[in-house]
């Protein structure tokens, strides 16, 4: 089955069950023109259940997005059917235009061209502060 092996591309494994859809949404992959396999609730030795995302022929994805949403996932780069590289994810210090500020009083709600910038203030809880209004969002929660 295609989902089991890809010749070339990226496999994002060990995603906490339920977060796969969110990752796909934030990664902004063109679903119409890429072959993407999305496995929900696969069995996992470590966590019981996990999600897996495989994207064919795409090697560079936004690692900041992955680190932001699911830093515990593993990222494997596949070439010729082999894992050629494993990437360690990191909780990013600063993210631009990935999350949007939800504070209705924030200037980003009216200034459409202002980049949405967030700064990490607490890595353990994945808390971020809006560059403009200082609103704090927790990416560990249901953002």
């Amino acid at each position: 089955m295609l989902v089991n092996s890809i010749e070339k591309g990226i496999v994002i494994d060990h995603i906490t069950a339920g977060l796969g859809a969110k990752i796909l949404e934030y990664l902004d992959i063109d679903l119409a023109n890429n072959t993407v396999a999305f496995i929900m609730n696969a069995s996992s030795k470590k966590h019981g259940k996990k999600d897996i995302v495989k994207i064919q022929n795409v090697i560079d994805v936004n690692l900041d997005v992955l680190g932001l949403i699911e830093p515990n996932a593993t990222v494997n780069i596949i070439e010729n059917g082999q894992i050629i590289k494993k990437i360690e994810l990191q909780v990013p210090e600063r993210v631009t235009n990935v999350i949007k500020c939800k504070n209705p009083r924030c200037v980003t709600s009216v200034e459409i061209n202002a980049p949405h910038i967030f700064h990490l203030i607490d890595a353990e809880n994945r808390e971020y502060r809006c560059e403009y209004c200082d609103e704090i969002v927790c990416m560990k929660g249901d953002y």
């Binding site: 504070n103 009083r105 924030c106 200037v107 980003t108 709600s109 009216v110 200034e111 459409i112 061209n113 202002a114 809006c130 560059e131 403009y132 209004c133 200082d134 609103e135 704090i136």
Partner: protein, 308 residues
């Protein structure tokens, strides 16, 4: 050196930079005549997206007293903003004419968007409920001039501590000095928000207490910072009626205070300080308003890199 910098929040400047600016403000207060041509040929733009006559007058008076000129708008309806121009485009255009800009905006972070879009110095004159750094400079200068500094003082903040941005900024700014203690006086419903308690006070190991009784707190204080308690902040009429007189500073309560304590208020007041207190030499709120203009003069000179 503050030349070319922005002032978006009180912590943008180091203690040393603030001290230099307050020294300049002191020199201006001593001899204002010496500075009447300090900003000759310079132009300040006041971009007020919401009205605030008091703050705008303070900035305009500051620039005019330095010999500079002022352009600007005081309500967005009469400007290109009404046509939907972005903040970034407005500030870039203004930068073609002016040497520095002051911005008041209802949205939080708006002056930062402006500052990111231009090399010209931008001063935040209030962005929603977020920051009002020149009010904090005013408060700090007044404390420094009357108490000769900030170390070892006990500051009481009274009133609406939940929504009072001036109190949050002042606590943040004073938390950098040695042995500053706080007594936070408010009704239960209007206590200081968690982020101030945890991120500023507890994180920096600052001694503070939260009390309900105004009378009990008064004798300990070197500074009493009063703010408005608005009726609409209360959950019910009963609580309002029960509490409304508790936090009104009057002559009899002033008897409980230290002889050298100073009373500050960002103004305008409603009824939280009885008019009879005005004649008490410890009432500093109108002096504070005047200091606001002088500290803005020092700020304008500093950001323009004009030696004083």
């Amino acid at each position: 050196m503050l030349k070319g910098r922005d002032l978006l929040e009180p912590m943008d400047f180091s203690i040393k930079e603030l001290e230099d600016m307050f020294d300049l403000a002191d020199r201006i207060i001593e001899d204002p005549a010496k500075y009447v041509h300090a900003c000759d040929g310079k132009l300040l733009a006041t971009l007020f997206y919401e009205p605030s006559t008091r703050t705008r007058f303070s900035f305009e008076a500051a620039m005019l007293r330095l010999g500079g000129q002022v352009i600007g708008f005081s309500e967005p309806n009469s400007s290109s903003v009404a046509k939907g121009e972005s903040i970034a485009d407005t500030i870039k255009t203004v930068a073609c004419y002016a040497d520095l800009a002051v911005m008041r905006h209802p949205k939080e972070g708006a002056p930062k968007v402006a500052a990111h879009s231009t090399e010209m110095p931008v001063i935040n004159a209030g962005d929603g409920g977020h920051q009002h750094p020149t009010q904090t400079l005013t408060d700090l200068l007044t404390i420094r001039r009357t108490l000769n500094g900030f170390d070892n003082i006990t500051v009481g903040c009274c009133g609406d501590l939940k929504f009072g941005r001036t109190v949050h900024s002042l606590i943040k700014a004073l938390s950098r000095y040695k042995n500053v203690k706080f007594v936070l006086i408010s009704p239960e419903e209007l206590r200081i928000p968690d982020y101030v308690r945890k991120e500023i006070l507890m994180k920096n190991g600052i001694e503070f207490e939260e009390v309900r009784s105004f009378q009990e707190a008064l004798p300990k204080l070197d500074v009493l910072y009063m703010t408005r308690v608005q009726k609409e902040r209360f959950f019910n009429e009963e609580d309002y009626i029960r509490l409304k007189d508790t936090y009104i500073l009057d002559k009899s309560k002033m008897k409980l205070a230290k002889e050298k304590m100073i009373v500050l208020h960002p103004l305008p007041r409603v009824n939280e300080i009885a008019v009879e207190v005005d004649e008490d030499p410890r009432a500093m709120y109108f002096v504070q308003a005047k200091n606001g203009m002088f500290v803005r003069m020092a700020l304008i000179m500093s950001l323009l890199g004009i030696e004083g």
